[in-house]
Subunit: 286 residues, 2 copies
């Protein structure tokens, strides 16, 4: 296999040895005997946009600037990396401060929200569909052999998931190559960190594939559409509305990728079934 | 076993046959052949408190009133069921409207927030610790035999998880008896629906145990403390901060309950190790 070659293409890999990302926790087992366990950290990170407090996310704590940029982008509060004036992380107060060149659409949104119904959390998160457009369809742009290769590489790669568990992973891929592999206690954070990297590095999504360990909910589908990534893949299941939205925006949605099995729920016209399949193999659905 | 007796004590059970909770979705499999799948629904539900928009949650859609009440209670925006004046669900606009007798603490919070930094999502979700008190310790109040019995009953009980997957469950238990078993696409919603039931029915948490399928994060620990439930159990893992908070508030925290194995991370003084253990049995951690 070409795992070694592929691994070297990784721009950001998981960091299971990162000293601030896990901690040893002592407990007792079912016999009452001491048992210690390596456990992922979880920290609050408060995000300010142009000196206004936006949200406090619970995160593992790596890449706080990318998480901030990606969150703002995926919520439609930031249009592009060119609009970023400054992004500063302050570890002491556990906050990221983002300043933009232009007045953001969020400022307008907030003024309107304040005028009408006062502060509304729902306003912030309810507008995720605003400005979203259907993804262009390029036929034969995804190969089943890539899915199997990516799944194999991602499952084998050293990660916090393998060493500590209780964490979600999201991987930006190109062809059969993983490029950016983010992990976080919240799967929305892992995706937002990938988005933050794309925005900061000005990397487009049209030729990419997004792999996630978490369920394919409406939120995950909308984020993938926002990031312009036409293919979203998960080893886990999906919700009915997630499928509806994927069809509406022309996203190729693939769930329950286990062994050789998967189900493609939307956008099958992009797929090429080029992998040779063993008889009745594959793992059970979950 | 006493499963049948126990099952009959259930006040709220999962409803895997609920016609509005799942839907058949068509896709294609790895061979390009048609494959249909029963999938859970996911719907937006907007919550209004005293005519002010608070949040839009993504939910499977059952028990919207209990979700609203439990969310407000767990966020510290509602003190008790006695303060509820009216709770109305409007299916047409997918919203729940809650009115309270007294001006809520949230009104004060919002006015303050509006005066200082404008609208702040973080303000709403950041104050979860306000007013929380440590849980009283009653020695020998949890038996390992109960944990195994509950785990067995919950895993065997017909549920949306077993029939469709992609969903989390949370079960309020008393001794070795499941009482209220809620499921939702978001595990915070499943817990909030349990809390809503407790608040509406004026049921205290001191003699209860909370079982959840999801990870034991800071949010889950704080909700359990808010609900006054001294024991929180999961088949999944946990975060380091979740463990810190459990210790701070005196919560008995038990993770990775699989087969006969588990790890107790906090509050072991409540436990009685009364179950007989088979040799090296138990399932692997995950």
């Amino acid at each position: 296999m070409s795992d070694l070659k592929n691994a070297s293409k990784l721009v950001i890999a998981p960091d299971p040895e990162g000293p601030d990302l896990t901690r040893k926790v002592e407990g007792i087992d079912q016999r009452g005997l001491p048992l210690s366990s390596q456990v992922v950290e979880e920290r609050p990170l408060t995000l300010y946009l142009n000196s206004r407090e936006i949200v406090t996310n619970m995160t593992i704590g790596d890449y706080p600037e990318l998480l901030a940029i990606g969150f703002l982008f995926n919520q439609g509060m930031l249009e592009s990396g060119a609009d970023l004036k400054a992004v500063q992380f302050d570890a002491e107060v556990e906050a990221v401060s983002v300043h933009t060149h232009s007045k953001t659409r969020y400022d307008d949104k907030m003024e309107r929200a304040t005028r009408t119904s006062g502060c509304a959390v729902g306003t912030v998160f309810g507008d995720m569909r605003e400005g979203l457009r259907a993804l262009p369809v390029v036929a034969e742009s995804v190969r089943t052999s890539w899915l199997y290769s990516l799944s194999h590489q991602i499952n084998q790669m050293p990660s916090l998931y393998l060493s500590a568990g209780a964490i979600h992973g999201t991987v930006l891929c190109e062809g059969d190559q993983p490029l950016v592999y983010m992990e976080d206690v919240g799967r929305h954070n892992a995706v937002d960190k990938v988005a933050g990297w794309m925005v900061r590095e000005n990397v487009g999504g049209a030729d990419k594939l997004l792999y996630t360990t978490g369920r394919l909910t409406s939120e995950m589908v909308l984020k993938s559409v926002r990031m312009g990534i036409p293919v979203l893949v998960s080893r886990s299941g999906f919700t009915a509305w997630g499928v509806d939205l994927a069809r509406e925006y022309g996203l190729t949605l693939i769930g329950r990728l286990r062994g050789q099995r998967f189900i493609c729920l939307s956008g099958a016209e992009r797929m090429v079934f080029d992998a040779s399949l063993s008889g009745g193999a594959g793992e059970d659905r979950s």
